[in-house]
């Protein structure tokens, strides 16, 4: 079963709004352009759904045996988000390791500087 015209329009509008925000955050330097590539790819995928609906219907039905294309797309997006969340958890833990290391070594270095200054005086 295909998407209705209303759903197609909503999908395109939501994607364009998302693209707008991605560009806005790049402009404000809140997202690194390299990180934005991923989200722009997601936008391109979302835009391609109403445009290439027939191809998705074919893949959905013949490769995965799903009658409803929209379910295929939902599952695809959920799998993508799960993988990406897992990747972010790994990155977050790496950052956390580094933050603890930096706090510790800043404190040790600061103590050494303080003592050197005292000895100079």
């Amino acid at each position: 079963m295909g998407m209705g015209i209303k759903l197609k329009i909503i999908s395109i509008i939501v994607t364009l709004v998302f693209v707008f925000f991605v560009f806005k955050f790049i402009k404000k330097s809140k997202i690194r352009p390299s990180s934005a590539i991923l989200w722009l790819t997601v936008c391109a995928f979302l835009l391609s759904i109403p445009v290439f609906e027939k191809y998705y219907q074919f893949i959905s039905l013949h490769l995965f045996g799903m009658v409803h294309t929209i379910h295929f797309i939902y599952i695809g997006l959920i799998v993508f988000l799960l993988i990406y969340s897992f990747y972010l958890t790994i990155q977050l833990n790496k950052v956390s390791d580094r933050v603890q290391f930096l706090i510790t070594h800043t404190a040790i270095n600061e103590k050494e500087i303080r003592e050197l200054k005292k000895n100079e005086n």
Binding site: S96, D97, T104, T106, A107, I108, E115
Partner: protein, 234 residues
């Protein structure tokens, strides 16, 4: 033998002077360093005034375990043979330090826990926290094959091999009390418990509020499972 007593402090301006005074009066030849975990009060100012060395975290590490990383790295860098963890809230008693230092000094143990529960004296802990403590003690005793009654005690001594392991080998984040115990055990540390007495804190509140105390057993259990996986991977 170089011995370091690391005094852990977070917003302890009302307690730290008494704690340091107690340590000075009962000092048996060890160095002292205060680890100030990003206090917003004058904890570091009091240390400065008393002439006690201190490491000041530029921000709070979000949990007390960031201070553990600091004292292991400090002790590793300055080549200490033994470190003792001592709370800056006045709950620990300096005259009890030899009880945890001596087993490490005499090469009987590498990781000594001062347990509040081996004798029926002194301050124990809140009811909610004791649920977690008993649960972890049971699990950790089963894993290590040693009776551990007070996994979460902050009164501990570590020997050279534990210091070197956390300074040179394990560079990742330290985030849990069970993690320190189990990773040390998997690294070959001999674990021992000795009875100690603890006092209730005189001023201020513990970093463990109701929600932290409630989440503590759940997070701890997951962390224990993680440590078992890491231990098996070694």
């Amino acid at each position: 033998m170089k011995i370091l007593v690391a005094v852990i402090a977070y917003n302890e301006e009302k307690n730290i002077a008494n704690t340091l005074d107690d340590l000075a009066r009962n000092n048996c030849g060890y160095d002292i360093v205060v680890i100030d975990n990003g206090s917003s009060d004058n904890t570091h100012g009091i240390c400065e005034k008393l002439g006690v060395p201190y490491l000041r975290h530029c921000i709070n590490t979000g949990s007390p375990y960031g201070t553990v990383r600091s004292y292991f790295d400090y002790a590793g860098k300055y080549n200490y043979d033994i470190i003792c963890q001592f709370d800056g809230d006045g709950q620990h008693i300096a005259s009890e330090l030899p009880k945890i230092i001596d087993p490490v000094k005499n090469n009987v143990a590498d990781f000594v826990i001062g347990s509040r529960f081996l004798q029926k004296k002194g301050f124990k802990s809140s009811f909610l926290r004791r649920i977690g403590i008993n649960l972890f003690s049971f699990i950790n005793s089963s894993i290590t094959g040693r009776k551990i009654s007070d996994t979460t005690s902050g009164f501990k001594a570590y020997g050279k091999n534990v210091i070197d392991y956390f300074y040179k080998t394990y560079k990742n984040e330290i985030y849990d009390i069970n993690q320190i115990l189990l990773l040390s055990f998997f690294n070959g540390a001999r674990i021992m418990e000795v009875p100690i007495v603890m006092k209730a804190r005189e001023h201020g509140a513990s970093e463990f509020n109701f929600f932290r105390s409630a989440a503590f057993p759940v997070k701890g259990l997951i962390n224990i499972m993680g440590c078992l996986l890491q231990g098996k991977a070694r």
